[in-house]
C-alpha cells in the first residue's frame, strides 16, 4: 500500500508534536522513520493508525483519503513499543483476538495462530500469560498479534528498543526476512541510525516534529541535506567543525581556529560558498596513523575508546573535539602524537546560517 501524508500538524497542549509533516511511503517497501526521542515518531504512527487525530493535514492510503476513518476500520496493524499485550489473555488468546473480533471461524483461527507461532518460533509459549514472558518473547507475541490479521500496512514503533543488544541484532535480521516474505508495506520507527542502514529501503528523518529529509536510505546517508541529518544519521556521529570559507583566487580554503583545510577539490560541487560554514566529516573517513603521514596533520590524542576490535580515537583539531574510527585496537592514554589526513572528497559542507548543505547531490546513488 502506498501511504501519503500531507501537512500533518499536531499539538499536545501548547507543545507542537508535529509541524507540517509531509512524506510518501512506497508500496511494499521497508520505510524507517528515524529520529531522536520526542521527534514525533510515535505520534506520526498513531495518526496513521487513527489512534490520534491530527489538528490539520491529510492522510492517503493508495490515493484515498482516510483521515476520518476510525482505527477499527482502517485495518492497519501495529506493534507498540511497550508491546501492549492483553495482560489477562494467554499468548494464544492474544494472537487470536483480532481474528476473533473479525469473526473468523474457530478452526481457521487455530490454524492461523499455529502457523504464525511457528513462523515466529513461539509455539511453546501459547498457554502462557504475558507477565511470564521475557522481553524478547513479548516482542514476538506482539508481532504475531499484528501479523495474525492480514493487512497492507504494518507499523512498528521502536520494537527492538526494549530488547538486549544480542537479541536486537537477531530480531533485526529476522524482521528484514519477515518483510521479504510478507511483501507488505512496513513503516518502522526507531531512534537508532544503525537500523535504517541495516534494514531500511527508505528513510524519513524527523526532528522536533519536522521532516528533516526523506529518500532512499543510502541516498540520504550520502547526501545529508542539513547538519542534523549529517550528524544524527551517522554511526558514530559525524564530526562537525565550525569555521569560515575563504576564496583565494581559484582556491577555497576552510579555516577554523588552529586548523585549515583546502577544499578546492570539491569547489565545483558547492552551490555557493558561504563565508560562515560548518564542515562535517564522518569518523571513519578520516585516515589515522601513529606514524607520520605525508601531507597529514599532526595531532595529540586525548583518549582511545576500544569497542570490540575497533577504536574510536578522540583528539583536538584546532579547538574542536574530533573523533576518528580506526578498525584496530589502540590502547591510548592521551597525549600521544598521531597523524591524520582528511580527503576533501569525503567532507560535507553546510552553510552555518541555514545549517543546510551547500553540496550538490552525488550522482552515484545506492
Amino acid at each position: 500500500m502506498r501511504v501519503r501524508v500531507e501537512g500533518l500538524t499536531k499539538f499536545f497542549g501548547k507543545n507542537k508534536a508535529l509541524d507540517n509533516v509531509s512524506f510518501e511511503v512506497a508500496d511494499r517497501a521497508f520505510t524507517i522513520i528515524l529520529g531522536p526521542p520526542e521527534a514525533g515518531k510515535t505520534t506520526t504512527l498513531k495518526i496513521l493508525a487513527g489512534l490520534i487525530k491530527q489538528d490539520s493535514g491529510k492522510i492517503f492510503f493508495d490515493g484515498e483519503e482516510i483521515t476520518d476513518i476510525p482505527p477499527e476500520r482502517r485495518n492497519v496493524r501495529m506493534v507498540f513499543q511497550s508491546f501492549a499485550l492483553y495482560p489477562h489473555m494467554t499468548v494464544y488468546e492474544n494472537i487470536a483476538f483480532p481474528l476473533k473480533v473479525a469473526g473468523v471461524a474457530e478452526a481457521e483461527i487455530r490454524r492461523r495462530v499455529k502457523e504464525i507461532a511457528e513462523f515466529l518460533k513461539i509455539e511453546k509459549l501459547l498457554d502462557r500469560l504475558p507477565h511470564n514472558l521475557s522481553g524478547g518473547e513479548m516482542q514476538r507475541v506482539a508481532i504475531a498479534r499484528a501479523l495474525a490479521k492480514e493487512s497492507d500496512l504494518y507499523l512498528l514503533d521502536e520494537p527492538l528498543v526494549n530488547l538486549d543488544y544480542k537479541l536486537r541484532e537477531d530480531m533485526r535480521a529476522e524482521l528484514k526476512r519477515m518483510q521479504r516474505e510478507l511483501n507488505k508495506t512496513i513503516i518502522y520507527a526507531t531512534p537508532d541510525p544503525l537500523e535504517p542502514l541495516a534494514i531500511g529501503d527508505y528513510v524519513i528523518v524527523l526532528n522536533k516534529g519536522k521532516v528533516m529529509q526523506t529518500g532512499r536510505t543510502m541516498d540520504v546517508y550520502e547526501n545529508p541535506e542539513n547538519v542534523f541529518v549529517g550528524k544524527y544519521f551517522s554511526v558514530p556521529p559525524m564530526n562537525l567543525i565550525e569555521g569560515t570559507l575563504r576564496r583565494k583566487e581559484e582556491r577555497v580554503i576552510f579555516e577554523s581556529e588552529g586548523f585549515t583545510l583546502d577544499l578546492t577539490e570539491i569547489k565545483d560541487r558547492m552551490t555557493h560558498v558561504p563565508s560562515d560554514a560548518i564542515i562535517g566529516i564522518r569518523p571513519h573517513e578520516i585516515k589515522f596513523s601513529m606514524e607520520k603521514i605525508e601531507g597529514g596533520i599532526k595531532v595529540k590524542t586525548i583518549l582511545g575508546e576500544v569497542i570490540g576490535s575497533d577504536t574510536i580515537v578522540h583528539f583536538k583539531l584546532g579547538e574542536t573535539l574530533v573523533k576518528v574510527f580506526v578498525p584496530r585496537i589502540y590502547r591510548l592514554f592521551g597525549g600521544e602524537d598521531a597523524w591524520i589526513k582528511i580527503d576533501p572528497k569525503s567532507v560535507y559542507v553546510f552553510d552555518k546560517r541555514t545549517e543546510k548543505s551547500v553540496l550538490k547531490r552525488l550522482s552515484k546513488n545506492g
Partner: protein
C-alpha cells in the same frame, strides 16, 4: 530481642481481645434469653442457648423486612454508583484535563452527612418519595459515586493506553474496548469497588433514619428500636447485629487482598 518479641505479642493479644470482645459479646448475647443478658455476674456463655432471637431477626415483620430492604437498597445503589463511577473514573483517567472537577467531586465526601440530610429530606418530601427504596438508593448513589470514581480512576490508570489502542486496531469500537478489554483487566478492582460501596450502603444509618419510616426502613434503623414497654430486647438486637455483620465479613475476607492494596497504595 526475645523480650521485645514478647512485648509485641502481648500488645497484639490485648489489641485482638479489645477488637474481638464486642463481637464475642454480640454472639453471646444473641443466644441468651432476655433476662440473662444483664445478669450479674455476667454470663460468659448462655446457660441454655436459644435460636429464637435469630428466628425473630430473620422472619419477624419488622426485622426480617428491614434486612430485605437493606439488601435491595445496598445492591441497587451499588450497581448504579459503580456503573456511573466506572464511566466517570475512565474519563478522569484518560483525559487528565479536568482534575479540578475530580477534586471537587472528592470533597463532597469530606462533609458531615448530617449537613446534607435535612435538604435531602426536604427535597424528597417535595418529590413525594420519602420512605421508598428509591429515596435511599438515590441518596446512597450520591454518597458512593465519589468513592467509586476515585477507586475506578486508580484502576484505569494501571491499564496502559496502548493496550486499548491495540484493541482499537484489533477491530473494537471505543465502547467495546472498554467492555471487552479494559474492564476484564481490572475486574478485581471493580469487584473491590463493588464490595466497598455495598458495605457502605449496608452500614449506613443516618440517612436511613431520616428518610424512612414504615415501609423502606433498613436494619440499622430497626436495630436500636427493639424496646417494648420497659423491656429492652438486647438479645434480639444482637441477633440482628450478628446477621448484619455477616455480609461485611464475607466480603472483606473475599476481597482482602484488593482492599488492603487499595488502602496502602492510595
Amino acid at each position: 530481642m526475645e523480650l521485645k518479641r514478647l512485648v509485641v505479642w502481648i500488645a497484639l493479644a490485648i489489641y485482638i481481645v479489645w477488637v474481638l470482645f464486642p463481637i464475642y459479646w454480640t454472639i453471646n448475647s444473641s443466644l441468651k434469653h432476655v433476662w440473662e443478658v444483664n445478669a450479674i455476674p455476667p454470663l460468659w456463655w448462655p446457660p441454655k442457648p436459644t435460636l429464637k432471637n435469630y428466628i425473630w431477626a430473620l422472619f419477624s415483620e419488622r426485622a426480617g423486612k428491614s434486612l430485605i430492604n437493606s439488601l435491595i437498597v445496598s445492591t441497587g445503589s451499588t450497581a448504579i454508583a459503580v456503573f456511573l463511577g466506572a464511566l466517570a473514573g475512565y474519563y478522569f483517567s484518560r483525559y487528565k484535563m479536568h482534575e479540578g472537577i475530580f477534586w471537587w467531586l472528592l470533597t463532597t465526601r469530606m462533609f458531615p452527612p448530617i449537613i446534607f440530610a435535612i435538604p435531602i429530606f426536604l427535597m424528597f418530601k417535595y418529590m413525594g418519595i420519602l420512605d421508598t427504596h428509591l429515596a435511599l438508593i438515590i441518596a446512597y448513589v450520591a454518597m458512593n459515586i465519589p468513592l467509586a470514581v476515585w477507586l475506578m480512576r486508580g484502576y484505569f490508570d494501571e491499564v496502559p493506553i496502548e493496550v486499548e489502542e491495540a484493541a482499537r486496531l484489533d477491530g473494537l469500537t471505543p465502547f467495546k474496548t472498554l467492555w471487552k478489554i479494559t474492564l476484564p483487566i481490572i475486574a478485581p478492582g471493580v469487584a473491590a469497588t463493588i464490595a466497598l460501596s455495598w458495605i457502605f450502603a449496608w452500614n449506613e444509618f443516618l440517612l436511613a433514619y431520616i428518610l424512612t419510616r414504615n415501609v423502606a426502613f433498613t436494619y440499622p434503623v430497626v436495630l436500636p428500636t427493639e424496646v417494648v414497654s420497659s423491656q429492652v430486647f438486647y438479645n434480639r438486637m444482637t441477633a440482628l447485629s450478628a446477621i448484619a455483620l455477616l455480609p461485611s465479613i464475607i466480603i472483606l475476607l473475599l476481597f482482602r487482598k484488593h482492599i488492603v492494596r487499595m488502602y496502602v497504595l492510595r
